[in-house]
Symmetry: C2
């Protein structure tokens, strides 16, 4: 790539979706400028770059905007193909598998977890559904350290909310959807995830503030439900 290239990430430090992008950029060794957005008062640039959804994260590469976190991850993987570590596996079947599970997290797990925390009516059923979905993820981990195998990949990044936020939120709220008893591998994966050298470098600081922020956002805007 040309040296003059410019990469900007319009995001929010407390957002699991922004964390996905940060991990991918760091994994590829791509230098970028983080442009913090205030979701209560979105910048004209964010609206300009993502006029359809008006949401973070948006990656702007040499003035070309890319929106939607999973789309951004694939873009990063393809654009900086020959540097850093791969995000998706090379084999088409393994790639399909990774895309399947990432989409499962976004379309099933995250909304179900949100529901389990905020649904008053039908709370028990929502809890049960969230646990069941996490069990599917547990099975998918098999005996691997990460969803990506020996190192983190597409599905690990997609699951960053579960990896970094879920257990502290559970402790803070006192409602558990992910337990060591029912999902021992996924539970341990959270520890592996936050300890990964690349993830550690980009984790947002001050977990407590973030949890409070997240609880507020999820309640009012269903941040995780797409």
């Amino acid at each position: 790539m040309a040296e003059a290239e410019e990469v900007k990430h319009f995001g929010v430090r407390g957002s699991p979706l922004s964390l996905r992008v940060d991990i991918a950029l760091r994994l590829k060794g791509v230098k970028s400028k983080f442009c913090e957005e205030d979701l209560q008062n979105k910048s004209p640039l964010l609206i300009k770059y993502n006029p359809v959804h008006k949401k973070v994260p948006v990656l702007v590469h040499n003035e070309k905007p890319i929106a939607e976190s999973l789309v951004i991850l694939e873009y990063i993987d393809e654009t900086w193909k020959h540097q850093g570590l791969p995000i998706l596996p090379q084999d088409p079947y393994q790639r399909a598998n990774a895309r399947f599970w990432a989409s499962f997290i976004d379309e099933k797990c995250s909304p179900a977890i949100c529901k389990a925390y905020w649904e008053i009516e039908g709370h028990e059923k929502a809890m049960e559904e969230a646990c069941e979905l996490l069990q599917s993820l547990e099975n998918e981990l098999k005996d691997n350290k990460f969803f990506g195998g020996e190192t983190i990949g597409f599905v690990d990044m997609a699951a960053s909310f579960i990896g970094y936020w879920l257990r502290p939120i559970q402790e803070a709220v006192g409602v558990e959807v992910l337990t060591k008893e029912k999902c021992p591998k996924l539970y341990d994966w959270c520890d592996e995830f936050v300890s990964h050298s690349v993830v550690k470098e980009v984790l947002p600081p001050n977990k407590e503030t973030l949890i409070a922020f997240f609880l507020g956002r999820c309640e009012s805007t269903k941040l995780l439900a797409k």
Copy 2:
């Protein structure tokens, strides 16, 4: 690819999601066996191959199952890379754009159109939202014949419901979300889509039965809402 390879498509002839897969296979010149599913009485094979969602379409390539229609399209494009026509463009930015719009169709347009037809309370608002989303698609067509440019691609396949079902459904029900006045390009694109040589070959027969089938399914199971 080895000659002995076996490709099966577990689908439903009336499903827009199955049509996506049929178009992609035909575009690549991949021979496959269509295994018709009865959604009221799903086959043990479908449950075995897609235990998480238990939904069509599923592609089974040499006994390896791939679920979720957009994931299947990418798999077909990558596996039979050097035969037939490409499904996704080659350039990473154009690929990101295609993925963005395909996901926009699944996550925004299709549920909104469904809502516009079945939401009794707030019907006006749902209609307005569906029209607005279709307007975004209209703008994305620009001056191209297809979303893929001169020929069909990923977004055209993703939009197969709009291309083949929407206008006949509108006529049958008498409720219009896509009009020639408001979205002239998208309206004409529907004609281009169903006239495309590859699409024509795989379009399910007997439109009237399909519309009735679709109306029934959408109402009871929200087929299009993922």
